[in-house]
Symmetry: none
Subunit: 143 residues, 2 copies
Amino acid sequence: MFIGEYKHTLDSKGRLAVPAKFRALLTDGAVVTKGLDNCLFLYPKNEWELLAKKLAALPISKANTRAFARMMLAGASAVDFDSQGRIVLPEYLREFGHLQKTAVIAGLYDRLEIWDEALWQSYKNETEQKSGDIAEALGELEI
Amino acid sequence: MFIGEYKHTLDSKGRLAVPAKFRALLTDGAVVTKGLDNCLFLYPKNEWELLAKKLAALPISKANTRAFARMMLAGASAVDFDSQGRIVLPEYLREFGHLQKTAVIAGLYDRLEIWDEALWQSYKNETEQKSGDIAEALGELEI
DNA sequence: TGAAAAGTGGGGAATTGTGGTGAAAATAAG
DNA sequence: CTTATTTTCACCACAATTCCCCACTTTTCA
């Protein structure tokens, strides 16, 4: 499972090294998608397949499920590793994530998240401030 | 399966390069037709066969399913690839899609969608606005 | 402290995307 | 029916991008 937080640089070609610890879990391929809060999600391919099937099965007749499927599927990208363990993030995903030079790669159990470092910092500050409130909200989840 | 977003140019003869990643899935032929929201749908031939059967089976009694089936069936056109991996979009489909110089080709699992770039942008802006509800939508899918 | 592994950068070959030209086919005109 | 004109298609050539490999630096771990 994916755990931990790593700081890596995005080079001029849009390449990003995936932390070596994670690579073993991604040998069957990986898919990057638009995530929440302006970060990117990276799933192992088989995990992604499950999600994609659900998306593809949504009724094409309804405007908002159609829109949703478009954002998630067209917003995704299958990524390959080069011999150095790097992936290439397509231009439209770098834009979506506001990614500059430095990125943070965070392990979230079944997926990785890719953040621009600045956004990650401010997000952390914000939420650590509020963590008291958040804890209460978690009460609803019976945790 | 088709995923991702690609920006390609439509030349003066109505030719459009299909992203190389997708060509392997279309070696048995492809069919383009009128899609929803002013884009074109491109299906692998076998997928198209399935869809066409379903369309033909729609209740002929209902005015709007009839109209929908007519649009997709009558609007369809088989396309071939030239040696550079391009297809020719017939004039009536280019017109239907309001296609100008630049087109976006989006992968939606079992089909490709072909959009005029400007329309794609405004569609995305529109829906990404709303998809702050994206999280809730995820909930509905139990993801 | 030394060796191995991980991360970063860059150069060059191969692939992909784009534009164009000329032959063949289809259509229209004489 | 022949000829002229337009359209379509196959092929060629260039430009841009991507990918693959090599080299260097930094970090990790014994």
